[in-house]
């Protein structure tokens, strides 16, 4: 393009610009096809990701420092208030845990009686969301746990109040995760009250999930708790996901219009937990 018209004595002429740009654009298109259609480029992504990691650390550092300074300088009576609140909470949770142990034992006995498969026991590890913005087109977050810590694609992420999302891309020391509110995220759930199974889709809003496949006569009402059903294979069963907010039954449509509010505050959390599901041996 440029070469045919540009005069070679023109000092502004950049040699072979047109050829270079065409080659590079062809390379981009090839990369996009390989990346999007076949996911062949994980290794490439990881290699370049290693160069991006220091960048992310530097961007995250001031936020970490601020957090550290704030913790270090918080006032004594504030700390005492926190301490007494946490002690009270610990007492309550301990009391609940005692019952849980008994219930777990009972559940195992009953499952034995029914000769059902033993329930999955989960291993959990705490991670932190880095103050780094990910893909501007999606509800993604960057977390500070990667392949070297044992994270894997599709791993479930929760916080203290409910399910947050899952890892979609592991790097060496950081990973990208997709929130359940992403419009392309779907999560198999069940209604905790009666075991009704369905799918919860993200909407692109942090505070709302869509349940598009609930029939008009289904037994579901506002306030019902949705938990993971474990059917998709990615998420272990039984973690709270959302609470039904509205149920709009439309007589002429096959499905009711149902929305739910995620239990976890998706746009506010910083501490998260990763779940490793390891099936217990059934014959023990």
């Amino acid at each position: 393009m440029v070469n045919s018209r540009a005069n070679s004595s023109n000092p502004a002429r950049i040699p072979a610009l047109g050829v270079r740009v065409l080659l590079l654009m062809a390379a981009s298109i090839l990369l996009m096809v390989l990346d999007h259609r076949q996911n062949h480029l994980d290794a490439v992504r990881k290699t370049i990701g290693a160069t991006v990691y220091p960048l992310q650390i530097v961007v995250d550092a001031p936020f970490r420092l601020w957090e550290w300074v704030r913790e270090g300088t918080s006032e004594r009576n504030q700390l005492q208030l926190d301490l007494s609140r946490l002690q009270a909470e610990r007492l309550l949770t301990n009391a609940r845990l005692q019952r849980l142990a008994a219930l777990e034992a009972e559940n195992a006995r009953l499952r034995d009686l029914l000769e059902a498969r033993a329930q999955v026991r989960d291993e959990i590890r705490v991670a932190e969301i880095m103050a780094v913005d990910a893909n501007p087109y999606r509800h993604n977050i960057v977390i500070d746990i990667g392949e070297r810590d044992g994270a894997y694609d599709g791993q479930a992420i929760i916080d203290a109040t409910g399910v947050i999302g899952q890892i979609i891309e592991t790097g060496l020391a950081t990973s990208q995760a997709m929130l359940i509110s992403d419009p392309s995220h779907s999560l198999p759930v069940e209604v905790n009250r009666n075991g009704l199974r369905t799918i919860a889709n993200g909407t692109g809003e942090f505070g709302r999930l869509d349940l598009p496949f609930i029939t008009n006569n289904a037994d579901i009402r506002p306030g019902d708790l949705l938990v993971t059903s474990g059917l998709g294979g990615a998420f272990p069963a039984g973690y709270p996901v959302a609470v039904i907010e509205t149920v709009n039954r439309v007589p002429q449509e096959p499905f009711a219009d149902v929305t739910a509010t995620p239990s976890a505050a998706l746009d506010q959390v910083r501490e998260i937990m990763l779940i490793w599901s390891t099936p217990e041996l059934a014959d023990e």
Binding site: M25, S184, G204
Partner: protein, 163 residues
Amino acid sequence: MSRGGGSQRLPVIVTIIVSLMLMVMPLPDSAEPFRPDWVALTLIYWAMMMPRTWSVGTAWIIGIVLDVAQGTILGQHGLALCFIVFMTVRFHLLMRVFPMQQLTATVFAILAMYQFILFWVNGVAGVDVPAVNYWGPVLSGTLFWPFVVMLLRGIRIRVQHRG
């Protein structure tokens, strides 16, 4: 225009790294769609002023790094940055003599082209994105352009007089 030696390249590389950091810096959710394309603005400036040193090759590599940092389709920003830097290099003599208003209008057009390529790739790949994510960065990028020029001009003059 002299060819950039080692001492001339370092400050430019630093500005590009800073622009990459600004791209991944967290913003409040309401401001998020209006994040200017810092990397595009920086690369347009250096391609306009030193097209022999900073051209389509740099733009492509930086674009790939940006794709990995943001988790977008690999090659998306590479393609878009490569193209707009090509347009800038092609018309760099013209753009250098433009008065600031006209230059800003040109940058508006270039940023719009940039977003159009991103939009087009997203469309082909089936990524659904609210429209504000496309026109937001074009508007804010145009508004910030004069400041980017002021800042980078200072750096460029210091670099070229030293070298």
